[in-house]
Symmetry: D3
Subunit: 283 residues, 6 copies
């Protein structure tokens, strides 16, 4: 992953810009030992390679052994990994490793819960760009570990015409036409619509995908039927239908049942609670 | 704040490593306009200067006007800020600005709820080092905006002898003595204890502060009384008492009532849900 | 453009890591003056904003006035821009500004020559990833200034299944299926084919675009007819057809005449000769 | 070479800021294989260590075996190097490795052609500062691989008084005197002259080298004779004579025959066409 | 140590931005050899790991063998370390390694002389923030190698209320109170005083430490007695007493004799002469 | 100066990685004021632009007014500069600004003392590469401010064949010949010699400059006479003569009297004591 090492170095420097005054006082420089990472809560583990890298950057002699792999659902008390080597490095890396591991596992865990709800309906759960600044590639990886799929990674690798774009262009049609003149031929076009009228306009523009933004359950159902009829009537391929906005663990199954293809959920990355994990030195 | 500009530049690059293909297609290069940031939920706003910086790094001509200030409690629908300038910069900065603003406001909002619960008891709510990698200084600022206080910023500016240190040193006493020989004279010493026995040992070492880690409510009460009696009996100054572990909005008031000085809460930074905020272009 | 400022700073440091010993000896520190950029050859100008930035990074008081704009075809002797300010900054920036300007203008000029040849046939000329390391965004901009269009910017924003991928997967079909399971829904799929058999397989996979790699003129013509018949017969949409490999100013018109959609040309960026431009101090 | 690793990392990030979506979909994470680099054109190879580094930065387990060494003249079809290891790393590094290799080999190849022309006359071919921004040290290395010599590396390690300096100082003499007061004692002084008058003035200033800028063949011959006579007459050592401006493969031999010492050629680095090289996965 | 590698890389680049033209001309690329570091003067060695890192960054095959360890007092002529490997790397690293080694050993040597003087009195010698920009962590390490102790590392990890702060706040009391409301509970408070009046005010504020700034020997003695009496009279703990300003090797013993706890000496880092060390290639 | 801003940013971050806890507690965020920089010792001031930059990077509204200029000899008590603006920025920048200013002024002051001693003899005082890592360009500037001249800036911009090179090459002659084949034509050749025999060999190689390394006063005198006679006898130009090694304020005048051209002094940069300067806030 591009730049992962740089990110971890910055995180280590943030957590100990001038050394670890407690550990340097207590732990002899060459003392070595072993510590175990334990899940204190049920959940899906994610970020083991990041944690391993934290320790290897502090001391390239450290040994890291994984007891489970990323994407594994574990129960409370499960041993996740063992780390062995210089005790100072273990203690100095502890919090940084856990901060990554807990956040990524939190995201994977929450994603898994959404994915499980919609699994019977063949619908995919996708992430958004509502990720933590500087951690997007990691968080999108966590979503995949939880069973979700990724939406575009950035503003550079996917066209999504949103509310504000349409307002500036004046209409869905105008926005789509401008984009078609500009983007390279390997990018599809998706349009975010707020109303049935916009949905119709988008269909006529033959876009590749349509995002129903903040539609109620009834409106989603209506939209799905409308699009299916339109496709049959016109013989055009039916665009991919995505739903976003206000999706919760409570309503996601009902949304999936309407027949949309993709449900994107900002909560996965902007509001997933951390999974409780701890590191304990074995003496 | 050291390095804030660098962090924002990285975030912008992460969100558009090769430009914003949608916006560049739709919005004319020199078109300008105005957008408004609106709270879609009740909460405490935090991070306005960060959002302002996002836009000024994209275009140093952009004007930013704040309608509220950091730390303000706002109701749903409140206008938070207005941004004016080149539309392309507004759209390219939107998500990055919101990602910072929503996270920091989420932390400030959750902190405010904890602080409000304990306010009657003169107890302070503190953060921890369980922060998002690379965003610690910002998140600690958000805690202050919410009314909380900061714990140490890193391993370099405060001595906290934890579980693992004690295990390695062999005893609380040995750990404290080693640290006293090492750290400079402007740092206090805090010890994390798991049991009443360790608490007694820490008192005898005359440490400056004691952290009761994962104590039950009853154990906290017992500890507080024990420390008070010890102080009276010995004529020694009573060390500061901190509680951490398993603190929730439900039990924080009861903990505050026991007479401890400080309650530190990892949830403030590792599990605060984002505050819902949006940016709308005005046409 | 992300990181442009950083690139220019590196270029300036490369050209004067320890100052400009000639200029510092000869030109008084506060002497100011004016210089003019002149095209010594006919061609298409590109990179004026980069040159302007070179000087503004050396001295933010410098004034830069453009006499033409990027994309303009100029004749030999045309004044391109005037730069005014501290003479030391003018001389120290000269070579770096010219190195950018001459290369980008060289690319724009060569692109324009290709574009002019194919203009009557409604075919587009595209660039490739065969760009100068670290200068890709600039060079792709130069291609647009010359009238070309951009292909994908990187391995991250477009799926192009190439020779080596097919060999590893075992077949076109297998490669396409694997990619479809992996990529997000906003990316199209293009397959590079070497033979008519692979072309047929790609059509059956319903990919969005097909790249005819190193086909002879006759083979291209055959392929175009084959695809058209297949589309009529099956009622499927005809995929976009791209040609690449061995394209020259001599054969590009004939290729365009075959009815393909896109001709991509590595030469545009890897072998365009620099356009001759000079900077003269006016005394 | 200072900073080479940083440059390659930037190049890799430029070519895959968010991963290689095609390869990640098609090639299993742990699949390994072998690929061969083949010259598709006759020329001089240069940049093998750079290509090796590209792959080792992607995966430090990769094995790289060179079949020829930098500076070797190869014929079409020659195997240049074999790379073995994780297939994903091979594919992700392919284009970046080739972009370096093709450009540097292009420069070495063109340099060799110039050098061969002037070899019988004992004249050296030198490069200029007209190099690709950020790649100067590599490109100067390529010139050496082609048999050329390097001119100064930057504005910091050589004094070259040019046209613009003379205009600002008012005369060759004044410019030389100012520089002599300023530079350290390990730098020689070269002056660029446009006319015989300036040449005389430079001789009287006893500079170490003189650059005849854009002189015609006749003017060069006249200048060489003039300088020889002056040296005999005055008993002064004859300064080194350099020619630059308008040098081509067609006229370089005639220039060499005039008896100058050094011919510097901007074309070597700013306009050398890339050498065609490809990488093929062996299955 | 955070960022040490980055600092060494910058130092290497500073000393050879475009290679080592002498060594590259004289020493064959693959020639290897051995060199020895020798103290040319009596003193305390410090910085061996830094020197080792200099060479390992130039060539990771180089072997480094230490004959003494950091903190060792050596006599003139002592062999400090042996370095073996590629001769080019040895010569290119020589000056950078020595520049670090000589400076750090100079600091350790001077510190040792101060420490020796005060050893009989149980007083500690501390450094200050008057360190070389970018080298603070290294220089503070050198002070420890010389037997001194560190004062705070930065403005972030210790509260020291100085002259200018008191002037701005209006009084010692006001300054102390403001700081107490702001800083986290793990930081002590030290106040710098210029007069006995300020000393009294500081005592009443119950600060943890008091710095007597630029006091004469008599004034220091008076202050020590005053503080002792105050402590006895009030039953308060006696704050730590630090002296700073105008401390020299001549007067430091007399100061130590007054009974203060800590003497901080800017000279240790801002004016220590380098220790003379050389590297000799063994042929 | 390349990278000066980056160096100052690193220095500021080093001195306050997590803010200035004292100042932030005491000084209101928007309070502004004025401070004066005062020389506490007689000496030559150097580094005012660096100090100014320190403050402008902390707050671009700060005003900086210089009372003297770099290179001015000042007496104790002289006001050097006034800085006005936000008090927090003044206090946070104080130590960093002083650390630069005191070191650079210390170097300029010591250089001035050496220069004054040799002024009557027309001999120049030069610096060496024995500078503080990362601060070389600044320290070489300080030497110029003190009236000295610069030796080469790095291993890249001057050829100096030293002891170790000669030992590896086998002889002075062999070393010189190898270098001549390698370096570009704008670099002179200097050889460091330890004996009269080496001196003779160097003369026969017609090098441009000779460094008498660690010669006694008598040996220097003998060498100067020998070189003069050789020049007369052979009619060759006399190479520049440099002395280095063991030069002190006590013996420098005697060395200058021998008739050498250049005396280089490592002490100027590796052992100059800081000049005492302070910053006082005016209230």
């Amino acid at each position: 992953m591009n730049g992962l090492e740089a990110i971890i170095r910055q995180a280590l420097s943030e957590d100990a810009p001038m050394g670890d005054v407690t550990t340097e006082g207590i732990v002899p420089e060459h003392a070595s030992g072993k510590a175990v990472f334990i899940a204190k809560q049920e959940g899906v583990i994610c970020g083991l390679a990041v944690a391993a890298k934290v320790f290897s950057l502090l001391d390239n002699q450290i040994r890291w052994e994984e007891k489970v792999s990323d994407g594994t659902q574990v129960s409370e008390g499960t041993e996740i990994a063992i780390v062995q080597g210089r005790l100072r490095a273990l203690l100095q890396g502890e919090r940084v490793a856990l901060n990554f591991l807990q956040r990524l596992s939190g995201i994977a865990t929450l994603t898994r819960r959404f994915v499980t709800k919609v699994a019977p309906y063949g619908v995919r759960i996708a992430d958004t760009r509502k990720t933590t600044p500087l951690l997007r590639m990691l968080e999108k990886y966590a979503v995949r570990c939880g069973g979700g799929v990724n939406h575009r990674f950035s503003l550079s690798d996917g066209v999504l015409i949103k509310d504000n774009h349409i307002r500036i262009a004046g209409s869905v049609r105008e926005a789509v036409q401008r984009v078609l003149r500009h983007t390279h031929h390997l990018l599809r076009i998706e349009v975010e619509v707020q109303t049935l009228e916009q949905l119709k306009e988008a269909l006529e523009c033959k876009v590749d995908a349509i995002l129903l933004d903040n539609f109620s359950l009834d409106e989603i159902q209506t939209a799905v039927h409308f699009v299916q009829e339109w496709a049959q009537k016109t013989g055009q391929p039916r665009p991919l239908l995505e739903v976003s906005g206000g999706v919760t663990l409570e309503n996601v199954e009902a949304i999936a049942r309407t027949g949309v293809d993709l449900i994107s959920v900002g909560t996965l990355t902007h509001s997933a609670p951390a999974l409780d994990i701890s590191m304990e030195v074995l003496v």
